[in-house]
């Protein structure tokens, strides 16, 4: 995403003009735009006009519409963002107050305005929003580190695209592979078919061109992580190799294939995939790898029962109150889902907590993407967790909970 214009005032109000360039930018937009914001973007609207005679005619007109956002609808599969709301600017074809759903498009500017309101009832561009904006605007241009993971087991494969901020399950392949039986060769045949379908799907999802002519273009292929328990991934790798002998274009693919171990063929085991040494060297220091590491550390800490880790909204807030999430190792881990809350007070609560930990307590704040595997694990813990600098007894919280 490119930042075209930035007019954020000190009080948190202001407008930003953004230019989304790739599908993941839509996800950023989804996190930036909140109900109540003003969004201006180009739109195509079908306008129906009624003649005096009662006959109607409708036409599609291109408009620049500004709406006050009511609702957001994000489709992660296709990375499409639909923002609905009421029109606030008057045009020749629309009236103020009419509803419209803007479909944000790639390579088209949109302008987002947040206001704080006269009494500060709005949230404006708070610290989280500004940080998200920074994340969204790809300054270094090195956000390209992406990988494709195929997590599989017998008869089951999940093809995931791992991006910087999201993990998208592109396709699930499920086939019934006959089990081994006495004297039956169906299993091998079934596996062969399963591999074939998986490879075809993978190539289609990657938009990988296997024609002979495609060998000339040297577009880099994203790393492909094949993960499975047992020998399924190895078998799949072998299958690609044999296929490559007849389809030369596949050889480009082969060089970027990494086979790793996973406990199952479900996306649950993506974390294990991302933590495997082979993948770590390949994707060192990408955001999601760090996030996964962080969650693992947290889980470890929790397991040790040192009381130096806690999770859940109340527990964490209480820990922060006690000053346990401060300098010297305090880490606040927050899922960005919390900031997507429709409720302004709710958002303010979390933003306040983050600001406090970062600015007052001096602790570290990590905002995890809820669309990543690590974020999903955090979701299970209530969306918020903290590593503490000193043990905090949890008996208090129990009473809190019960109360």
């Amino acid at each position: 995403m490119r930042l075209v214009k930035n007019k954020i005032e000190h009080d948190g109000s202001g407008t930003v003009t953004l230019f989304p360039e790739e599908p993941e930018d839509m996800w950023h937009a989804y996190n930036l735009i909140r109900p109540g914001d003003l969004l201006r973007a180009s739109a195509i609207r079908r306008v129906t006009t009624t003649q005096d005679t009662g006959s109607t005619s409708s036409a599609r007109v291109h408009l620049n519409l500004e709406i006050r956002v009511k609702n957001l609808d994000f489709d992660p599969q296709s990375s499409q963002l639909h923002v609905s709301g009421q029109i606030v600017n008057e045009t020749a074809h629309t009236k103020i107050g009419q509803f419209h759903t803007l479909d944000l498009e790639l390579n088209r500017n949109f302008t987002l305005e947040k206001d704080v309101g006269s009494d500060g009832e709005g949230v404006g561009w708070d610290s989280i929003a500004v940080e998200m904006l920074k994340d969204a605007v790809d300054e270094g241009g090195k956000r390209r580190a992406e990988a494709v993971a195929v997590v599989m087991q017998e008869g089951l494969a999940h093809i995931c695209f791992i991006g910087q901020f999201q993990t998208i399950l592109k396709q699930k392949i499920e086939m019934s592979v006959p089990r081994k039986r006495q004297g039956g060769g169906d299993h091998d045949k079934g596996m062969g078919k399963f591999f074939k379908v998986t490879l075809e799907t993978l190539l289609r999802q990657m938009e990988f061109n296997t024609s002979i002519t495609s060998g000339s273009n040297n577009e880099t292929v994203r790393p492909i992580l094949l993960a499975s328990p047992g020998f399924v991934a190895t078998g799949f790798h072998k299958y690609i190799q044999t296929e490559a002998s007849t389809t030369p274009a596949l050889r480009r693919l082969l060089s970027s294939v990494v086979v790793v171990h996973s406990a199952s063929g479900y996306t649950n085991s993506l974390s294990e995939v991302l933590q495997s040494p082979a993948v770590k060297t390949l994707l060192a220091d990408t955001k999601y790898a760090r996030e996964t590491k962080l969650m693992d550390d947290f889980m470890d800490q929790l397991r040790k029962e040192t009381n130096k880790a806690t999770y859940g909204p109340r527990e964490v807030e209480s820990a922060v109150d006690q000053g346990a999430v401060g300098r010297g190792g305090g880490v606040l881990i927050v899922s960005n889902r919390l900031f997507r809350s429709q409720n302004i007070a709710e958002r303010k609560r979390w933003v306040g907590l983050v600001d406090r930990v970062r600015d007052v307590e001096g602790g570290e704040v990590r905002i995890l993407s809820s669309d990543h595997e690590s974020g999903k694990r955090l979701e299970g813990l209530g969306g918020i967790a903290a590593l503490l600098t000193f043990p905090v007894g949890d008996d208090d919280f129990d009473s809190d909970e019960d109360a």
Partner: protein, 801 residues
């Protein structure tokens, strides 16, 4: 019937194409004539000095695109048949002579053309029209030839020669001149012979001509061809001929004059008619079928030609009827209102309709999936079960750390019990040695997968049966590798008791204890297995060291008792799977003399028959979905958890909610009419799409379906720390991703009373109540034993509440 029809189509097409083809290309015909002369001269010059009829030569030329050389060589091979062919043209003329009589003659060509156009789309028809015509003609001949020809070829070659001679004479008289005339006059083929014959026939009464020229020939030839087809049931063509013959009489009457004079000819004519009429339908309705038949002849010209030649007469007959039959069809369709039909057309239409009806029926059969109805015997399964005097049966699962020798031990057991014959065993041994894994030969009895054999690791469970004097055992051999614990869980869920195999060699036992020895033991216990037999394997590698055995016995028994096994249900047997010591026979090794206990097999036989919930509603977890064979396209296997079923029962599979019919079933590999809980069954299903069946699904009855749920509360024993986290939920073959969404409370182990509500984390070894949510609805109901795993290790096991 269908075949017959198809062939008929071929005939019709021939007729059409002939008509259509001839008229448009006079130039070509001239060229043909020239070529024909060449060919004929060459043929005469050649060794057998064949006398080929012009028509035949022309046909050959068409075949080879006027390539004289090829056609000469081609014709030479068929000299005998050529003679007959000469006759065929005459017959065809006859047909044409008839044509004018009918009102239809004009229209048929149109029909032909349209048919040709229609089929032109099909790729194989991208053939020059000449060639097409040839192809079409040939299919006709071959059949007839086959009918009569085959027998002739066998013993009557000499007859053929005689026939040929007779024909030559006749041709010299009549036939030779007609073809030329026909060329000029008729739309028929260019051969002059035909034309002349036609004219002659026209001039005279129809009947007269056949009688003179063809009749004589036919008389000579017919006996041979006519009888052979009927006699020869082996070849498909005779069969076709038979129906034709049946219809002949009718045709004869219709034809009137000609029929009376020559009964022999007539029978054949009707046959041709019948063939022709179906072909119309078929060509109109089923384009594809007609295509192949045409194409085939072109590919294999030699066969066709032979047939043609032999059955020149037959050929003529088809012509007679073919001409009218399309006409009839068209006319009938057009003129029904006028009541304009002649008798022959009427008969044909009747045949056509019949054909249509048949076709329609055939199509229906194709399109509509046949619902299989299996009659239920309405047995009282439980009564049957009580009546039956089967041996007591027992399922046991073989568990243990990877490479403890589970598969080998079981292979040995099966071999000793005669469940596997020596020859197979020797084969395995040889193959295993070939890839340098001689010691795996016994394991191959159970490790049937190619990958398993190549890697020497059991991947999936294998079941096998063997019987002792008292008990029928079912072995479930589980994989030991940690990656395949899900498969092991599936196996353990089918077991009444367990055999824990332990590698006694130094270092292996210790590593196993940390690994899957422990995990497996915990799993089988948490899945309800009470009795466990510990086979301390590979004792030969430690020289049957008694102290080693006792050390292992002591460690394992203490572990097993903490895991919840009762002391009396644990037994230990020192053995060696590779050597077979203390498996079925006592060890003869002097070092092992200290052991006076039971052998493994004796230990197994002490197992108590377990009771099953026979009268509960049917529940069966599908273990495998496979194609049982041609007879049973969809089969599922598994163990009946509860209830009973019998052949003909309607079952419901969850979560798909689809019903299926039990076509047949097998219990322990034996066909049976019924099955009850506890038995391993293979159900051959009908009326269900395999897409609705997955391993892990549950089979039940629609009267008491198993609920599908997305979240459940369960009381679990934690093996590792539990917190809200992602887990895999296992129940038998069922394996779904889920997450612990809530830790409700930790419980007192003995009383089950809550100790601490809403714990932040559950420590290993404690009992807790947790809520598990899943993304998809799965068939689960209380009380069911489930296992929660994450990251490749078992974190908890418990009971659904």
């Amino acid at each position: 019937m269908s075949r017959h029809r198809v062939k008929n189509i071929g005939y019709d097409d021939e007729d059409y194409s002939d008509d259509g083809y001839d008229s448009p290309d006079p130039e070509e015909q001239e060229h043909l004539q020239r070529c024909t002369q060449d060919v004929l001269s060459q043929l005469r010059a050649g060794q057998p000095s064949v006398t080929a009829s012009k028509e035949e030569v022309q046909e050959a030329l068409w075949h080879y695109y006027n390539d004289v050389e090829k056609s000469v060589s081609y014709l030479r091979g068929k000299k005998e048949k050529e003679i007959k062919k000469q006759q065929t043209p005459a017959v065809s003329q006859k047909n044409k002579a008839q044509v004018p009589m009918y009102p239809a003659p004009i229209s048929p060509p149109i029909a032909h053309f349209s048919a040709a156009d229609f089929f032109r789309d099909s790729p194989w028809l991208n053939i020059p029209s000449h060639r097409k015509a040839d192809i079409l003609v040939q299919p006709l001949y071959p059949r007839m030839g086959l009918l009569g020809g085959a027998p002739e070829a066998g013993g009557k070659v000499s007859k053929l020669a005689a026939l040929a001679a007779a024909r030559k004479q006749k041709e010299g008289n009549k036939v030779s001149s007609p073809p030329e005339a026909s060329q000029a006059e008729q739309s028929e083929k260019p051969s002059t012979e035909q034309k002349v014959s036609l004219r002659d026939r026209l001039a005279a009464s129809k009947s007269a001509k056949p009688a003179e020229g063809l009749g004589g020939l036919r008389r000579l030839a017919k006996p041979v061809p006519a009888t052979p087809p009927a006699q020869k049931p082996v070849s498909p063509e005779p069969v076709k001929a038979a129906p034709d013959v049946a219809s002949e009489p009718v045709e004869q009457i219709e034809e009137a004059t000609s029929a009376k004079i020559e009964p022999k000819i007539e029978p054949k004519l009707p046959a041709a008619e019948i063939r022709a009429s179906p072909s119309m339908f078929a060509s109109a309705i089923v384009g594809n079928q007609s295509g192949p038949t045409r194409a085939e002849p072109s590919h294999i010209p030699s066969q066709n030609v032979d047939l043609l030649q032999i059955y020149g007469q037959d050929h003529t007959e088809p012509f007679d009827f073919a001409g009218p039959s399309p006409d009839d069809v068209v006319l009938n369709a057009q003129n029904t209102a006028k009541g304009f039909k002649s008798k022959t057309p009427a008969s044909k239409t009747g045949g056509d309709k019949k054909g249509q009806a048949d076709l329609a029926g055939g199509i229906n059969n194709l399109s509509v999936e046949e619902k299989v109805a299996v009659k239920s015997k309405n047995l009282d399964v439980l009564a049957e079960y009580n009546k039956s005097t089967r041996k007591k049966s027992a399922n046991f699962v073989v568990i243990g750390h990877v490479d403890a020798g589970k598969s080998t031990l079981m292979g040995r057991l099966l071999a000793d019990q005669g469940a596997i014959d020596q020859r197979t065993l020797d084969k395995y041994r040889k193959e295993a040695e070939k890839i340098g894994k001689g010691s795996f030969a016994l394991a191959w009895v159970l490790d049937q997968g190619s990958e398993e054999r190549a890697r020497g690791v059991t991947i999936d469970i294998a079941t096998n049966q063997f019987e002792t004097d008292t008990t029928a055992f079912t072995i479930v051999d589980a994989p030991g590798h940690r990656d395949f614990v899900p498969n092991m869980i599936a196996g353990a869920s089918q077991a009444d008791f367990a055999v824990l195999v332990i590698d006694s060699s130094v270092g292996k036992f210790e590593s196993g204890l940390k690994g899957q020895t422990k995990e497996h033991a915990l799993l089988v216990r948490s899945m309800g297995v009470q009795k466990i037999v510990v086979a301390v394997n590979k004792m030969d590698t430690v020289q049957w060291d008694k102290s080693r055995f006792e050390e292992i016995q002591q460690q394992i028994s203490s572990f097993l008792t903490t895991a919840g096994f009762q002391e009396k249900n644990i037994s230990f047997v020192p053995c060696s799977g590779v050597l077979g010591d203390n498996i079925s026979r006592r060890s003869e090794d002097p070092h092992a003399s200290w052991y006076a206990g039971q052998t493994l097999i004796e230990e197994l036989e002490t197992s108590e028959p377990s009771t099953h919930a026979l009268d509960k509603p049917l529940r069966m977890t599908i273990g495998d979905v496979f194609r049982g064979g041609v007879q049973n396209p969809i089969s599922i296997s598994g163990r009946l958890d509860a209830g009973s079923l019998q052949v003909g029962d309607q079952i419901l599979t969850m979560p798909s909610g689809e019903t299926a019919l039990i076509r047949s079933l097998e219990v322990d590999g034996q066909t049976s009419d019924w099955a009850v809980a506890g038995q391993n069954v293979v159900l051959n299903l009908a009326n269900i799409d395999p897409a609705h069946l997955r391993s892990g699904d549950v089979v039940c009855r629609s009267s008491s379906p198993i609920p599908t749920i997305t979240s459940f509360t369960t009381k679990v024993l934690a093996f590792e720390h539990l917190m809200p986290m992602l887990v895999d939920v296992h129940r038998g073959r069922l394996h779904v991703p889920g997450r612990i969404s809530k830790l409700v409370a930790t419980l007192d182990k003995a009383s089950g009373a809550p100790i601490k509500k809403r714990p932040k984390i559950v420590a290993p070894g404690t009992v807790a109540r947790v809520v598990v949510e899943m993304d998809t609805a799965v068939p689960l109901e209380a009380p069911t034993r489930i296992v929660l795993r994450t990251g490749g290790s078992t974190v908890a096991a418990g009971l659904l509440e």
